[in-house]
Symmetry: C2
Subunit: 242 residues, 2 copies
């Protein structure tokens, strides 16, 4: 097995709790316009459900590469129309879509990344665009060595180019890049490209319900309950090589 040279992190779900964060912002917004009838966690789930279909129009080549900030705004408008929400103007909708830039980390995320950064360079490999990911990192105190991912490569995960072009930008072989993610689907696509894989369990990502890709579980190179645990394991394993 090749030695890992860089750790690449998925962001939504793996590092941040999008569901709780989006539901909280939605609750405040709906309360402000007297629409308490819309269930915030259900709204967060419905918004997230439009995420893959929106990216699919880009992956398929139906439309040119379009940033997630833009896709998030389009899917928000779709959802607000479905709920006949009329009390939000352009500025309010723009700010609502940017709720995806204000997601809170899991309790171990910031410390875990910092500990892992002592061992390897750490980069993002997210479908979030650069400005979005940079803002999440800055707001939460996550420090990365580079913000890579879909916008840096021009390809949305799980297209093979998104993983392979990330390794290429880093000037390393795919086997020297390890994807850290809570999604078996993401890890599976990365492994098919030759990357190493580290699974982190985020059982609360969907509010405790089974993840849609649970059936894609494999025996990953690493499998942990938290990023701080991953740092501990990687430190121990690296010792003989130091």
């Amino acid at each position: 097995m090749a030695q890992v040279k860089v750790l690449a992190f998925d962001v939504f779900g793996t590092l941040v709790d999008w569901r709780t964060s989006i539901a909280r912002e939605a609750a405040a917004i709906f309360a402000s316009i007297g629409r308490d009838d819309i269930d915030p966690p259900a709204f967060a789930d419905a918004w997230r459900a439009l995420y893959q279909p929106a990216m699919q129009t880009v992956r398929s080549g139906e439309r040119p590469f379009t940033r997630l900030d833009v896709l998030n705004r389009e899917t928000l408008d779709t959802l607000l129309d479905q709920h006949d929400v009329t009390g939000l103007d352009e500025t309010a909708r723009h700010d609502f879509a940017f709720a995806w830039r204000r997601l809170d980390p899991w309790p171990d995320t910031v410390r875990g990344i910092a500990a892992l950064r002592e061992i390897h360079p750490v980069v993002t490999l997210s479908n979030g665009n650069i400005a979005l990911t940079m803002e999440i990192a800055r707001r939460t105190g996550m420090v990365f060595d580079a913000i890579l991912g879909a916008e840096a490569t021009g390809f949305y995960k799980p297209l093979p180019q998104s993983y392979l072009a990330t390794a290429d930008l880093l000037g390393i072989a795919p086997a020297q890049l390890c994807l850290v993610a809570c999604h078996h689907s993401d890890l599976s696509a990365a492994r098919a490209c030759g990357l190493q894989t580290a699974y982190v369990d985020r059982s609360m990502e969907y509010g405790g319900r089974t993840a849609p890709d649970a059936h894609m579980a494999q025996d990953w190179e690493w499998s942990v309950e938290s990023l701080t645990d991953l740092a501990t394991i990687m430190t121990v394993n690296q010792e003989p090589l130091a």
Copy 2:
């Protein structure tokens, strides 16, 4: 004047002392192969002199976008041939070219960036490729919010697209982006694109000789002797807005 939202840093010369670092590595390499007749600082200057012509072949469209790591290796081979250097194999030449990833910062650089990062997000806007810039930052302890620049945009400075596409990636207007650089030529091109400009004096970049773009000096928005000074000025100026 628009409020600055992000600071973008030139790297070679502005943040790191390429001439001293390259000369030091060259001295060690030439000594190891009994070629003490080659003057290391002159070799560093000659290597740097091939930098603009190499990028020009990309800017002109003569060849597709090619990473600086690759251009540095090509220009190194040219120089070594000129000096009839025969004692360096493929591995040694590869490592020699990567001397550009091992440049030392000026004394104020790391502290200055850290202080400025308390005020604004900080990104690189260098002609160095992502892996090269990331390695310089990691080796020296510079912390950036994102590594942008030529490879992220696909355009070498001073092409207008390199500045404009950087602002676009950040999701901000050109006037909200401030370039921090020690080169009047770079700042001049950035200003022509609508960016704000901060000049930092690096009088030792060329070993004390006058910079080739000294005649392009203008009255920049900021003009300082060090990055720590820039942080002090920006903190004071921002106070009324806080």
